[in-house]
Symmetry: D2
Subunit: 231 residues, 4 copies
């Protein structure tokens, strides 16, 4: 059995060395006659860079932040969660294949908190053991892994390498930090944002749910934190 508190496991294995300088370079290149490599060679005060970058981002000119790219390794997320995650078409994914990797012994799985709260953990675990047993039986009898996995549940975990640029990271935060997002993907994106902000604290103000960015809530069911948009 698996402790939920340990999951998901997220590592930031590559981040831009200096996102502020990179974004400043991109902004200045648009609005200046100088060669960009000369802008890059300059030593500019962080405050000056922050001011320009803040102004440009506030005006919605977000292509300037696409040059900053992050690579994450992710484990201990369910296939329910990854099926949502891979819908983000501006991200790149390399995901553990259930076709090529045969599960050995009990597969790893996640139990939602609401299942625990309703006193159903034990029965849930028994079902997972039963599924695992039949999976193994099928594999032993010669059913290929890609077919045996038809019985594996959404709760089974997966692993990925996922990379994305800062524009998509902010989009992910805007969308998936909302309380209406599924709890697991919300937790995952929160962890990813924390790793980004740990390295560059000034990005904290951008990695927020959409309501904080817009000043209003556009969800059908609102949590009430921000006023709903009148239409």
């Amino acid at each position: 059995m698996v402790e939920n508190s340990k999951f998901p496991i997220v590592h930031l294995i590559n981040a831009p060395e200096n996102p502020l300088k990179t974004i400043y370079l991109a902004c200045r290149t648009c609005y200046s006659a100088e060669y960009p490599y000369k802008i890059w060679e300059k030593d500019v005060e962080p405050e000056k860079m922050l001011k320009l970058v803040g102004k440009v981002l506030a005006s919605g000119h977000h292509s300037t932040i696409e040059h900053c790219q992050y690579i994450f390794t992710i484990s201990g997320v369910t296939r329910a969660c990854t099926h949502q995650l891979v819908r983000h078409r501006h991200m790149s994914f390399s995901q553990k294949s259930q076709r090529y990797v045969t599960e050995q012994g009990q597969f790893e799985y996640i139990t939602p908190q609401t299942v625990k709260n309703n006193g159903l953990q034990e029965e849930y675990d028994r079902l997972m053991v039963k599924i695992s047993g039949f999976y193994e039986k099928m594999v032993e009898q010669g059913v290929p892994a890609e077919d045996a996995r038809f019985v594996l549940p959404n709760a089974a975990t997966s692993s990925l390498v996922a990379s994305l640029n800062l524009r998509e990271m902010i989009h992910l935060a805007n969308l998936r930090l909302c309380v209406n997002a599924q709890h697991e993907i919300r937790k995952l994106i929160k962890l990813m944002c924390e790793l980004v902000v740990e390295k560059d604290p000034w990005l904290n103000e951008y990695l927020v749910p959409k309501c904080e960015k817009n000043g209003f809530c556009d969800e059908i069911r609102s949590c009430g934190r921000f006023p709903q948009q009148v239409r």
Copy 2:
């Protein structure tokens, strides 16, 4: 229980009225001084259009076919299959949500042929019934659908509206008609191609596995139909 032969269910609900004329327009616009709307108004012999389009496509100038778009409805495909399908980032998807749609009674599922062949259908069905029972119990006790679905297997079916342009359709065919593709997605893409070709038979020669297009096989395990590329 569900008869595999009936699945997946695919309908082409929208297709370009005249893809040949549209592609001809796109090609001519690139290489001609005429206003494109005047090219569009002309009545050109299909043979002449086919000749130009064939030449342009053979030379790899595939942006000219992006203007032709197809909309499909798809049902009776497993979540295993849709998890692969939605990885295609040039497609648009609207998929039945397991978060918002609560299963009523036994959920629909697919049994792989290899499970039947190994005499495991009955045990497979019993497991599906058991999973369905526990799903229902959870929902009754107040577990939200988005959490109850953690026990639903990959075998559970889904429905989608999927749209894509002809360039992506050809890419899908190249990739997923290969015998190494998962059998279910291969069957799905084959059905989609058949619907496209039924309407416009001249497209048949493009909707082929990559080996037929390239004249060689680049797979690690080859089926032997085409020689493997020497590197």
Copy 3:
């Protein structure tokens, strides 16, 4: 010489037969247990469809409108304008090539209103004639068209086939109908929106500058129509 009022020339050569029904299908597929092709076969009241679609779009669930695709032919836009236009990466383009199409006689060009207003039209025209003359001379002496075009100005017009889905159409409107957009692209997008709305008037409320959508202005220099966002 060319009359500005005639340009750009925009035709909508293909549009979804029934965008409302298509979007309704996409929305219903997400939130219903029914097979999508059965939803498609139903005869639903337009009012009921409009209500659901409006609710879904207001909540930002815009992937549902990607299935509706439009194809335009565009002529009489400058290369200055098309260089901006092709930055839209969710669109598909087939553009008249200056490498493969040699200009015959005086090339077509646009004069900005501010040039006319400053009494510079005549001198502007003389420069265009001069450029055209040298272009012709180069071509006659054997300079290939792809090199001779180095002297052609931004003002020279181009032609394109451009296709895009409704999500991108709305994004274009949000961005390019702003008074801060370049006047030519603004005029172009306005014409495109009018053609879309002519066919489906209910889309009018979505094809607006971003300020109308958001209720605030995020531009650095505001026209004052909406209050600027306080940050």
Copy 4:
């Protein structure tokens, strides 16, 4: 006047620290039960990594190389060239704006070799001086930069920050190193590839024109280096 040999000016300002290890991680994550962060922590022999990566890339599984991203600064390329470059929709661009940056004095421009070869350099230069003079006159009389630039020629240079991942870099090489590509973009991409290969020489074999990759030529006019594909 500008010496062609100096242009374009390309710098690689950010590259993945270890693309081989990153791609190995991506490949292993797909085909292994291990957590990816544990794969990342391992010290694997370069030969072993090269072998796996080579096998995966040869089989066309190119999503695994999307995690490696490169940032370039580019100057001294014409607007003719950048209009082509920005058609690559998997790249990110920040480009010097002719709307917001007013040219000061003679604008920088490129002369194609064929113009020189035909003894037309002097007349070409005189035209550029003339255009520049009228541009300045317009600006002085109050025509905004975004309109004055209508007279600027394709030959005028631009600057960009451009970023792309390795998959797109290989695609660019396949397409634009072909002798049929425009000479300027071909030179640009060649310089970009050299900078990538300088850092990681093992990538050299992938950064080749498409004919070298495919073993045949699919161009309409072939240079004869590889046999044309029979269809």
